[in-house]
């Protein structure tokens, strides 16, 4: 029979790192990490870095010596992957912590349900002097963000989905499809402000100069959103197995029904996350909104007329030009509270998308 070039251990358990070895490595790297860190003047960050590096190196080398290079590579990869995850959590926790600590004090019913109408620096000065609750709220901005994002979604998701469907299901890789794919990629790199300027200029041309409405902003955001929707949907549709399409065709089902009822539902989980991602990407945009929706302190619920506030512009203005320049704390508090709200909104959206995905997703019973 085929001569084996493998070097395999005869026993199944030989050359195994005992279970306690990793814990020992862990303990050693903690101790050594603390020691090294102390040499440089102890800090949590250097300690964590030293300990992590020591642990990764130590466990990899130990594995390498005892179990061989393949296991070592596996252990190394595992360590790095866990490490990467922890690393990714650091900024996340830091940002969330910052937003929570600074945002929670500002959240109140008043903040949720009033606008900034009538607010002036004088009011804030008095608030600071008297120590009373911070007045003024983000209701106008919340509604603005909801409406603008809703419209942007209404515009982008159908266009994005349909385009992705065209690319994956219909195009057969022709020059038009290649052009679309290519330019969609290019579109992802349009700076957000340019999208805003473009929408402003376009509506300026059509409806007269200075046309600023929620809808103009929605169009600007759509320019930013569409490529994300197309790109993520395209990837998700591509990995739907052809077998399923064929099964459907063989039942005499039309292509468009196959797409809508078999292909899209199979990919819906990924599509939903892509759309969520796209919404999250634009819901926090500031620059394009500044030039398209204008900026107001009062409530406007009509996206087709009048200027409109939004949470990101609200945050930006409160941070960059506080209501009272002399007492910026109330403005800062409002800004962080609004940031917290914005994050909560996207969280809810995310939950919603997951629910959608769960309902339609392929049942993996097997």
């Amino acid at each position: 029979m085929i001569d084996t070039t493998l070097t395999r251990s005869a026993s199944l358990t030989k050359n195994q790192l005992p279970g306690w070895a990793l814990w020992a490595t862990f303990a050693a790297s903690i101790v050594l990490g603390a020691a090294f860190s102390a040499l440089l003047g102890f800090s949590i960050a250097t300690f964590a870095i030293f300990a992590a590096v020591l642990f990764v190196a130590g466990s990899t080398i130990a594995t390498r010596v005892v179990e061989g290079s393949r296991r070592a590579a596996d252990r190394f990869a595992t360590n790095l992957i866990y490490g990467a995850f922890i690393l990714a959590l650091v900024p996340l926790i830091s940002v969330i912590f910052t937003v929570l600590v600074r945002g929670i004090p500002g959240l109140s019913m008043d903040f949720l349900f009033t606008s900034m109408g009538g607010m002036t620096g004088t009011v804030d000065n008095e608030t600071v002097a008297s120590g009373g609750p911070v007045l003024g709220g983000a209701y106008h901005a919340i509604m603005g963000t909801l409406l603008i994002t809703l419209w942007a979604t209404i515009i982008s998701v159908p266009i994005g989905l349909l385009t992705a469907v065209y690319l994956v299901e219909y195009s057969k890789g022709g020059p038009l499809a290649r052009a679309i794919t290519f330019f969609v990629d290019v579109m992802t790199g349009i700076p957000s402000i340019v999208a805003g300027l473009f929408a402003a200029a376009f509506f300026g041309l059509v409806f007269g100069p200075g046309t600023r409405t929620g809808f103009v902003a929605a169009v600007a955001l759509s320019v930013l959103m569409i490529p994300v929707v197309v790109r993520s949907t395209e990837e998700m549709l591509k990995i739907v197995p052809n077998e399923l399409r064929e099964a459907s065709y063989a039942l005499g089902v039309r292509k468009w029904r196959t797409i809508l009822k078999v292909v899209v539902p199979t990919a819906i989980s990924g599509i939903a996350s892509g759309v969520t991602l796209a919404i999250a990407r634009v819901i926090g945009e500031t620059a394009p909104l500044l030039v398209t929706a204008g900026f107001v302190n009062t409530i406007n619920l009509n996206v087709f007329a009048g200027w409109m506030a939004s949470l990101p512009t609200f945050i930006y203005r409160q941070l960059m030009s506080p209501t009272s320049p002399t007492n910026t704390d109330p403005s800062t508090q409002r800004a962080w509270a609004a940031a917290l709200l914005l994050i909560l909104m996207v969280m809810l959206l995310n939950l919603g998308a997951r629910l959608v995905a769960r309902i339609f997703a392929p049942k993996t019973g097997r």
Binding site: P241, A250, P362
Partner: protein
């Protein structure tokens, strides 16, 4: 409801590669026809041309005519979707829809086409089709569970149930039993026997005994070598093919008493 198929001088291509060359064959209505031949000789490929599933693959195309009761499937103005709803198909690999329950999988052909069907009709259809595919007993208590939770053999039978649920006139089966155990295989063979009285059945099989048992006529395909096109070598009554073939290659192939 059954229909006759006449294939005239059919060449099947994948892009520039000629996979099946110059096949002419007459398949009778109300009969079972088996395609046999070594792997890669183009049985699946040829089968797929009979309901225009071939053209779903990019670059795939055919030359020649396939007549269904005298009408050319590849004629101008013929809608492949209509063709496929007349000519059903079961694939080599089971492919239930992962997003659908077992019940919905069976009803897929009906529901995906947006045909309205009453609840009780649907229940009857599900039961009838699953019984026909010898699966009813095993799944009747979990019709609402996903179809992908079944074993390979169960999945294949589910696909058969799905195909017969739309009652096509011709049923094409590409090695439908290759994943099945003998009991299910027997059930499917019984089913084919039953279907024959109303439908035209074409089946690809690697199993000589199966071909001998179920088919009225047998077509033997062969291939001269890699990169060469597959060809129809001999086509005759099954008894003739298995007992008294005219071509040497056929005899060689069927005389090995395989599988």
């Amino acid at each position: 409801m059954s229909k006759r198929i006449d294939v005239k001088d059919l060449n099947v291509y994948y892009g520039d590669f000629l996979a099946v060359e110059d096949v002419s064959i007459k398949i009778d209505a109300r009969s079972v026809t088996a395609f046999i031949g070594p792997s890669g000789c183009g049985k699946s490929t040829f089968l797929r041309t009979l309901n225009r599933m071939h053209e779903v693959l990019p670059g795939a195309r055919v030359e020649g005519e396939v007549l269904l009761d005298g009408e050319n499937l590849y004629g101008p103005g013929v809608d492949p979707v209509t063709v496929r709803s007349h000519i059903g198909m079961v694939f080599q690999r089971p492919n239930p829809f992962p997003t659908m329950s077992i019940r919905d999988n069976v009803l897929a052909g009906v529901k995906l086409n947006n045909k309205r069907i009453s609840r009780s009709d649907a229940d009857d259809l599900v039961e009838k089709s699953l019984t026909g595919a010898n699966l009813w007993r095993e799944v009747k208590d979990r019709l609402d569970k996903p179809g992908s939770g079944l074993s390979g053999g169960q999945q294949q039978r589910l696909c058969i149930a799905r195909a017969i649920a739309v009652s096509p006139e011709v049923i094409l089966m590409d090695e439908p039993c290759s994943a099945l155990d003998p009991i299910s295989t027997l059930a499917i063979e019984d089913l084919i026997e039953e279907l024959k009285s109303d439908y035209t059945v074409v089946i690809v099989t690697h199993n000589m005994q199966q071909a001998a048992r179920v088919s009225d006529k047998t077509a033997f395909f062969n291939i001269a070598g890699t990169g060469k096109p597959g060809k129809l070598i001999e086509y005759d009554d099954t008894t003739v093919i298995f007992n008294n073939p005219t071509v040497k290659a056929t005899e060689d192939y069927v005389s090995g008493r395989f599988g």
